[in-house]
């Protein structure tokens, strides 16, 4: 009897061991599941700890789309950062940017215009000194000249994305249709205009800023004197402005330009003008619709008195990236700047939409993938060929108040609201006030 009892207890102990093992497995599963729940909560917590920064830019549809896609890529690669976006077209953006800067409500990272360095950071303290963020931003991808463009008073305020200058593109199909050659001089423009005008086509279409740039070049070429000296001071008088306004009026009267024909891009796309003066970085936006319409577009030389000339034409960074001096998150902002400038993937998204990138990694990414072609690359190549004769643009040259004054004074003279002298005097005064 005792033996049987011992056997029963032994069997029961084995059974108990099996059940105990099952219990341990159950407990392990419960613990694992509990750990998984904890892990999920931790993920939520990490999302909640994102740093919010903002990025503003101007541009067109294509730029808005690829930038938004790039930011999505950036935040996926940097899940601790959330980027809010602020964008618009150039005209409104400039005013919007001015109000943001005055109110100290600017975004952490900003696409800026070269001229704004002088406006908002005359002593170099208006933007964050990117030299202090060189551990995050790879500055070795930029040349000394690139860095010099963004440096004011020793502080690296901004980095260039690409370079820009006014270039002239022509609808060669129209020129060929009327037996015309691509213009090379000012006189060529007038000669072509005489032919085209008879067919209701203008020679050139350009916005007021490009017309202003063109007049600066014409004046410097024909007088040997630059309108602004190297410090940005205006070194011409009322009589000189009279000659510029007079030249504009003649160009309008003889069909070289159509002052108020509407959007230059539309005019060029619709075949209502044979040529456009545009920024290098805008080349595709203007030219591609013409090509898509089955016509041929060619890059012309910047006109001169006796032939193509670099004199009077200036180059500048197309767009630049800067960080707000008021940012609370300079490190995160620097990571975004580095991505936008140096990331090969983003370079491929951006292509040459802003011009041929100056960043070494961005340039190589495009070159390695066969993306260095097209209108921007062609115009940039021409700019590089003329680099020796090109001078760096002075911010005063594209000062908004100056350009607006030029636009208004020209209209008043053109439409008889003021005579040439009055208009020139008003322009002179406005320029002097603008440059301080």
């Amino acid at each position: 009897m005792a033996l049987n009892a011992n056997k029963a207890v032994s069997h029961t102990m084995r059974l108990a061991a099996v059940i105990l093992a099952a219990v341990i497995v159950c407990l392990a599963i419960l613990l694992v599941r509990a750990a998984q729940s904890d892990s999920a909560r931790q993920v939520d917590a990490s999302v909640a700890e994102q740093t919010d920064i903002s990025y503003s830019w101007w541009g067109n549809d294509a730029r808005h789309h690829y930038t938004a896609n790039g930011i999505k890529d950036f935040t996926e690669k940097n899940p601790d950062i959330n980027v809010s976006l602020s964008y618009g077209v150039w005209d409104g953006y400039e005013r919007r940017y001015a109000s943001m800067m005055r109110a100290h409500d600017e975004c952490d990272v900003m696409q800026i215009n070269y001229a704004w360095l002088a406006t908002y950071s005359p002593d170099g303290s208006g933007y964050y000194d990117l030299n202090e963020l060189s551990d995050t931003i790879d500055l070795s991808q930029f040349s000394e000249r690139d860095l010099a463009f963004g440096t004011r008073n020793g502080a690296l305020n901004a980095l260039p994305i690409a370079y820009n200058m006014p270039v002239f593109y022509y609808n060669k199909s129209i020129l060929d249709q009327y037996g015309l050659s691509v213009p090379r001089t000012w006189n060529d423009l007038f000669s072509c205009a005489r032919v085209l005008r008879a067919h209701g086509v203008s020679m050139l279409c350009m916005n007021d800023k490009q017309l202003w740039m063109t007049m600066l070049a014409w004046y410097e070429q024909t007088t040997g004197t630059a309108v602004f000296d190297e410090n940005g001071a205006c070194q011409i008088g009322e009589a000189d402005f009279e000659s510029m306004l007079s030249m504009c009026a003649r160009m309008a009267a003889e069909g070289v330009i159509d002052l108020d024909a509407g959007s230059p891009a539309q005019q060029f796309a619709n075949g209502k003008t044979a040529g456009v003066a545009i920024w290098t970085s805008d080349a595709s936006r203007y030219c591609q619709p013409v090509v898509d319409a089955g016509q041929t577009v060619v890059l012309g030389a910047n006109p001169g008195v006796d032939g193509p000339s670099a004199t009077g034409w200036y180059m500048k960074p197309a767009t630049m990236l800067a960080i707000s001096k008021n940012t609370a998150h300079p490190e995160e902002a620097a990571r975004l700047v580095n991505y936008l400038l140096n990331d090969p993937g983003y370079a491929l998204l951006q292509g040459t939409e802003k011009g041929v990138p100056v960043s070494g990694t961005a340039y190589r990414a495009l070159a390695d993938n066969g993306k260095l072609s097209g209108f921007e690359e062609e115009a940039t190549e021409q700019m590089h060929r003329n680099m020796d004769g090109l001078k760096a643009m002075l911010p005063a040259m594209e000062d908004t108040k100056t350009v607006n004054a030029f636009k208004d004074c020209l209209r008043k003279y053109q439409y008889g609201r003021a005579d040439l002298s009055q208009s020139a005097q008003e322009l002179y005064t406005a320029v002097q006030e603008s440059i301080g």
């Binding site: 009892a5 419960l30 008043k412």
Partner: protein, 470 residues
């Protein structure tokens, strides 16, 4: 307990599903409010074009202004657009006139949609609110990447604004804790204008979701496939939030599985503890009880039945037996056993009792009961079915002889030298139903006395026949 727990789990899931549906409805309403506020803000921006007639009243189609006057008027409109259009991320913000000319920011993308004209008439057709002379539109000439708002400024002018549909991503705060939620904005025909997952824009809303939220109005419902809720914006568009039921209930299902696992664990633990308690407590007690019962029925020295048990079995057998046959009642007494104890001690006496008991048990394997009924007295009781008195008596005599023989052999060894052990036996034989237990016992006892009287070491058999013991 399992059934109760299962019921509670199912019931809690039902309650949870109801709560989740209400939560989704509330979240949807909140998102709809966000979107409404956003769209209202955009509409408010458009309203700022009416602060001065220079902005809204200019009509180049009918204007008699000269060229310069038109330029000035257009500059005023442009400046206003620049001023108020920079407050949001607009993809279009401009005025389109009846002659299809425009001022402000009408993007190249939009202009490209109307390369053959028709821009003004297309946008004029987007005005769905005749009282306010405004309307929201989507999928204008196949463009699905922006949402349009059109507001009439005058008889020949429309303010046209648009925002990228993707920009709603910043407005649509996807609710957390509701699984894989998709937030969509749909128009009156349930065409998707925007989704948080970035796909399906321009496509019809998932039919499974439509089955829950319908084609208009506000709703919040669920089935096996989806949880879904909708909330309507002032312009007739709706915010629809949907999530697969499995996704929404994932945590609940997980918790249910954990609970079931826990329940199984508790049941297993309960069974384990119960088993152990039984083994450790109940079984030993049962064994002890059985042991004590056995001990109460037996003679501890010889292992045979004790007197009470023996006589009880014998009495019951005698009273119960109805078949034809005979009973045999044997009484065995060790001769002069007192002398054994006196001369050799009780230990040796006990040894004698054990051996005699063992012999009796071995010889009486056929017996119904065999017991030790006194100090040195043993008894065996048997029923031989179908046997008559003579046959039973013969069997009894053989038994007595075999027992005597075994006793002699057992106690003939050198260790028993000087200690002659013999037994006297008496056996009573009676047909079934003929005598009582007492009578049978007394007859056997008398036969034993006869054996003693005749000189011991022998056995006497008495048979009850024809009313007499012979």
């Amino acid at each position: 307990m399992v059934v109760a727990c299962a019921f509670l789990i199912v019931r809690s899931e039902q309650v949870l599903q109801g709560d989740m549906a209400r939560l989704m409805g509330t979240d949807t309403e909140q998102i709809e409010l966000n979107v409404s506020n956003y769209l209202t803000t955009l509409e408010g921006t458009a309203q700022l074009m009416f602060t001065d007639e220079n902005y809204y009243a200019y009509d180049p189609v009918t204007s008699d202004l000269d060229a310069y006057g038109k330029i000035q008027a257009e500059n005023a409109v442009r400046n206003r657009i620049i001023d108020i259009g920079s407050t949001e991320n607009f993809s279009d913000f401009g005025v389109v006139y009846a002659d299809d000319e425009h001022l402000g920011w009408i993007s190249q993308t939009t202009l490209g949609l109307f390369s053959n004209g028709g821009m003004y008439s297309e946008f004029a057709g987007c005005i769905t609110d005749s009282a306010r002379q405004s309307g929201w539109a989507f999928n204008v000439r196949g463009n699905t990447d922006r949402l349009w708002y059109v507001k009439r400024l005058n008889d020949d002018a429309l303010l046209v604004m648009s925002v990228y549909a993707s920009s709603l991503g910043e407005i649509f705060a996807v609710p957390e804790g509701l699984g894989d939620v998709t937030v969509s904005l749909v128009d009156g025909s349930n065409t998707v204008l925007f989704t948080s997952n970035g796909t399906d824009v321009g496509a019809p809303l998932d039919a499974s979701v439509v089955a829950l939220v319908g084609t208009s109005g506000n709703a919040s419902s669920y089935n096996d496939q989806y949880f879904a809720a909708s909330s309507t914006i002032d312009n007739g568009w709706r915010v629809v939030v949907a999530a697969p039921t499995a996704s929404v209930m994932e945590q609940s299902t997980s918790m249910r599985n954990v609970l079931l696992l826990f329940l199984a664990f508790m049941v297993a633990l309960f069974m384990l503890v119960s088993g152990l308690v039984y083994l450790r407590l109940a079984r030993p007690v049962d064994t002890l009880v059985d042991d004590l019962a056995d001990r109460a029925k037996s003679d501890q020295l010889t292992g045979l039945l004790n007197k009470v048990t023996y006589e009880t079995i014998a009495r019951q057998s005698l009273a119960r037996e109805e078949a034809a046959g005979c009973f045999g009642y044997l009484i065995l007494d060790i001769d002069r056993f007192k002398d054994v104890n006196d001369r050799f001690g009780h230990a040796r006496g006990d040894e004698v009792l054990k051996r005699v008991g063992a012999i009796l048990k071995e010889c009486c394997v056929h017996a119904s009961a065999t017991g030790r009924v006194g100090g040195d007295e043993f008894s065996s009781f048997a029923f031989i079915e179908g046997a008559d008195e003579e046959e039973t008596a013969a069997f009894g005599r053989e038994l007595i002889d075999r027992i005597a023989e075994e006793i002699h052999r057992e106690f003939s060894g050198p260790e028993w030298e000087g200690l002659p052990i013999t037994v006297s036996m008496g056996e009573a034989i009676a047909p079934a139903g003929s005598v009582t237990f007492q009578e049978l016992y007394e007859a056997a006892d008398a036969a034993l006395y006869e054996s003693k009287h005749r000189g011991r070491d022998r056995g006497t058999v008495t048979v009850y026949k024809e009313g007499l013991w012979r």
